[in-house]
Point group: D2
Amino acid sequence: MAEYSRFESRVEVRPDDIDMNQHVHNSKYFDYVLAARYDQMERCYGMSMEAFLDRGYSWVVRASYMEHKRPLRIEDAAIVKTNIEEIKARGVKVAFEIHKESDQKLVAKGWLDYTMVDLDSGRPKTIPDDILKTYSV
Amino acid sequence: MAEYSRFESRVEVRPDDIDMNQHVHNSKYFDYVLAARYDQMERCYGMSMEAFLDRGYSWVVRASYMEHKRPLRIEDAAIVKTNIEEIKARGVKVAFEIHKESDQKLVAKGWLDYTMVDLDSGRPKTIPDDILKTYSV
Amino acid sequence: MAEYSRFESRVEVRPDDIDMNQHVHNSKYFDYVLAARYDQMERCYGMSMEAFLDRGYSWVVRASYMEHKRPLRIEDAAIVKTNIEEIKARGVKVAFEIHKESDQKLVAKGWLDYTMVDLDSGRPKTIPDDILKTYSV
Amino acid sequence: MAEYSRFESRVEVRPDDIDMNQHVHNSKYFDYVLAARYDQMERCYGMSMEAFLDRGYSWVVRASYMEHKRPLRIEDAAIVKTNIEEIKARGVKVAFEIHKESDQKLVAKGWLDYTMVDLDSGRPKTIPDDILKTYSV
C-alpha cells in the first residue's frame, strides 16, 4: 500500500489576488497550489523545477479538479498541503488542500494530474528511475 | 430530455497571459471561460451579471474540472463555447470547450459547477422561476 | 521636427482584471498598453515581437510613467492609442493614452521607455538602420 | 525638514508572476509595492486599509513612476522598501525601492502618488488631522 508524504507551504494573499467579490479570485487558488509545489519540489523532494529543466524535462498539467469550500480574504494567509496520490509511468497525480492559516478551516481541495514531458519536443516521457525514487517519499 | 443551447465567445490572448512556458498560463483558461460566461449571460441569455447583482444574487464556483489538450500561444485567439449541462434547484453546471481560433483544435474542456447565492448572506438560494426560464434556452 | 504616427487598438476588459475596488486593477492598465503594442508592432509597423525575437533582439522597459484619470469597469472596453515620442540610439520612448470606448473619455495616459537588448546577453544594442526605418512612420 | 520613516516588507516571487521573458512581469512590480504598502499600513503605521474603508475613505493612485534596473527571477524574493516622500492636503506621495533579497541589489525604484477619496462619492477628501499624524512617523 503506497502512501506518500504530505508537505505544506505558506502562501500570502496579495491585494492583486482579490477580485470584485472581495475574496481571492477563483483561478488564483491554482496559482497558490503551483507556488506550493515549486517550494516543495526544492525544499521537500530535493529536486527543484530548475533541476528538471536542466535535465531537459518539464511538467505539464493534463487535468485538474477543485472544490471550493470557503474563500480567502485580504487579511488571510493560505496553508497549502500537497501529496502525491499516484505515480504513473509518465506522470504523477498530486492531491492538495488549501487551509486558512488563522483557523485551519478548509478553503479548497482537489488534485492536479501532471505529465512529464521532454522540454524540446513537448512529448510525454517515461519518468526515469532516479526521479521516481525522488518522489517516492 | 433536456438540452440547452451552446454559445460561443472570442477571447484574445494578451501578452500578460503568457507564462514562463511560452504559452497561456494554466489558470488563465478559467479566466477565459469566466470572460465568455459574462459575455454570454448578457448577450445570449439576456441577463447580465449586473442584473443578478441588482436582484441581490450572485454566482459562486462550487467545483471545477478541466482537461488540457494543447496550449494557446501569444499569436492565438480562443473561441470559448459553453452550455448549461444541468440545472439544479440552487445552481447550474456549465460545460465548456476552448478551441484555438486558427484551426479550431481543442485546447481544453471541462465544467464549472455554480451555486446561486444571496449577495448579503452568501448562502445558497433556490433559483427563482423566472431565472430558471432565462437559462432554459 | 519628427512626428510619428499614432495607432490604436481595442482591448476588452475581462472579469479577472477587476479588483476589490470594482474597477480595472491599476497595474493591468500597463498590460493593456503592452497588448496594444504587440498588436500594433505586427499590424501597424509590420514587425511583430516574434520577428524581433527571431533576429535575436528583445525590448525591455527601462522606465514607465502613468497618470490615472478615471477607472474602467467590467462593462467597458479600452481604446489604447500609442505613438513613438522619441527614437534614441538604443531605445524608443512610447507615449500612450487609454480611452473608454463608450464615451471616449480619457482613462489614463503616460509613457514607456524601452531599450532594445540582445536576447542572449540581455545587454542594450544599437538599433539597426532597417528597424529604425520600420519605426519611423 | 520633514523626513519620514522607511519601512520594508518581504514579498515572495510566485511562478504565476513570471512572464515569457523568464522574469517577474513588469506590471507585477507595482503589485509587489501594493502588497508592501498593505502590510506596512497595518504593521508599521497602525492603520490598516480596512480601517480606512471602515471610516469611509479609500486611496486611489493618481500617478506612478518606475525605473527598472534588473529583473527578479523565480528563485528570488523581493524586499520592498517604502517611505512617504510628501504629505499633501488630499494625498501622499510614496517612494519605493525593490531589492533582490539574496544580494540586496536594486531591482526597481519609483514613486506612487495617492489621493485619499470618499468611498461613496469617489471624490478627493482632505486628510483628517488624526490620519495626518498617523503617517507623520
